[in-house]
Amino acid sequence: MKTEWKKFALMAVVFIACYFLPVGRPRFDNAVMESLGLVRWYAREHVVYCLIPAFFIAGAIAVFINKSAVLKYLGPKANKPLAYGVASVSGSILAVCSCTVLPLFAGIYRMGAGLGPASAFLYAGPAINVLAIVLTAKVLGLHIGIARAFGAIVFSLAIGLLMHAIFGRKEHEEENVWASTPEKKNSRSLRQNAIYFLVMVGILVFANWGKPVQQTGLWYYIYLAKWLFTGFLALMLAVILVMWFNIKVWKMIFASAPVIILACFMPHEHMFLFGVGIVGFSILTGFDQGECGEWFRAAWDFAKQIMPLLFLGVLFAGLMLGRPGHDGLIPSHWVTVLVGGNSIRANLFASVAGALMYFATLTEVPVLRGLMDGGMGNGPALALLLAGPALSLPSMLVIHSVIGAKRTIVYVLLVSMMAAISGIIYGFISG
């Protein structure tokens, strides 16, 4: 019966919302157009070069990196200083999906290295996963992307150490069953893996190389030659896959031939060529029965999980905040008043709001783009980025069930303070 009532309530709410839909009011009509415009902008600018390669990289991390090796450093017998360091950076490898962060946090706290490293991991994890950094750097700018990753690592160390200092060392009487499944034997050496990941990251970086303002200098020359670099790295990736990943040569030739042939006829249709390359590559890996097939499926899982959320997030951001220079439903001077500039108040407001709000994976990025176009300062933007994904009301409830009320309150306070402080510092540096 209860679920029937829920459905009825939902239907009633939707009906009332539709009944009073303010169609025809200039502000609403304009906001709808803004949100469609924003979706188009994202589709054109950020999907092909940025998101799709990032999905493949995240998939590769999920499949090819031996996670138990990392977990070892966070286990019960871990060296403590090392555990803090590993906890603050391992989010980039372990936390490719936000739903894995909380169990890991509970595990590190209960049976592993303790409260300090667990808190450090919880804070840094969501902010430094590959997809988050790539998208932040692409949509919000390279500087804030780097600041996000760097700020998350530095402040996670601070938070971890402070939590440990405040609550001291709690001995765990629980049984230490730090389970590790028998991982598949890695057929590639560490160096081979490193080269493979560097090549993929290189493709991502060069394909997204922005046009610098000045028409001279190294950055500009790299910009001019970026497709040369991208093509060369793509070729290297093809060789690597054949040599180290047991992809048959004829299959690889079959998959890459269309790009090479088309590139001879229309060398300037970059997005089209890149797209053809991705299609060939997807067919190649998608039909593979071995580890490359696993890689493709992991990448596809990320795409399935994140694309719909991101699409809705962009629509929502466009509706509420509009595109640069245009207003959505929320007038931009409200944004300026609340989080403009770099005052302590604006930073605190951004960090507390971020801590309470729930952002579905990566949707914080388009929302923040909208806010920044509406006049939000760089500092408050970083504060929101640092506090937002790490905390939300639902995650606070889970954290509470693991570490109790007192520690949760201190943790939330620390995160909000640290986020605000990093915002102030970043706002000060970036002017």
């Binding site: 977990l71 372990l94 909380l102 209960r110 389970a179």
Partner: protein, 77 residues
């Protein structure tokens, strides 16, 4: 009688793993019991740090990924 436990807080991947496990066991026609563990403290007590996890008769078989139907069949046999 096999006891299959799926550890996961209820995310989409955990549901998928439970579904795969059920499909695999039914295809093999074996007698089984499927238990979903959703409480995060219980999950951690099993030593599972990354969800979803597949546990067969108390032994952790896969952590942090959705095992396929064919893979699960191999464990069940």
């Amino acid at each position: 009688m096999k006891t299959i436990q799926i550890a996961g807080s209820g995310c989409a991947k955990c549901l998928k793993l439970a579904e795969n496990a059920e499909t695999a066991a039914r295809q093999l026609g074996i007698e089984f019991e499927l238990i979903k563990i959703t409480d995060i403290n219980e999950i951690v007590k099993l030593g599972v740090m990354m969800t979803p996890a597949f546990i067969l008769d108390g032994k952790v078989k896969a952590i942090g990924r959705v095992a396929g139907v064919d893979e699960i069949k191999k464990w069940l046999v």
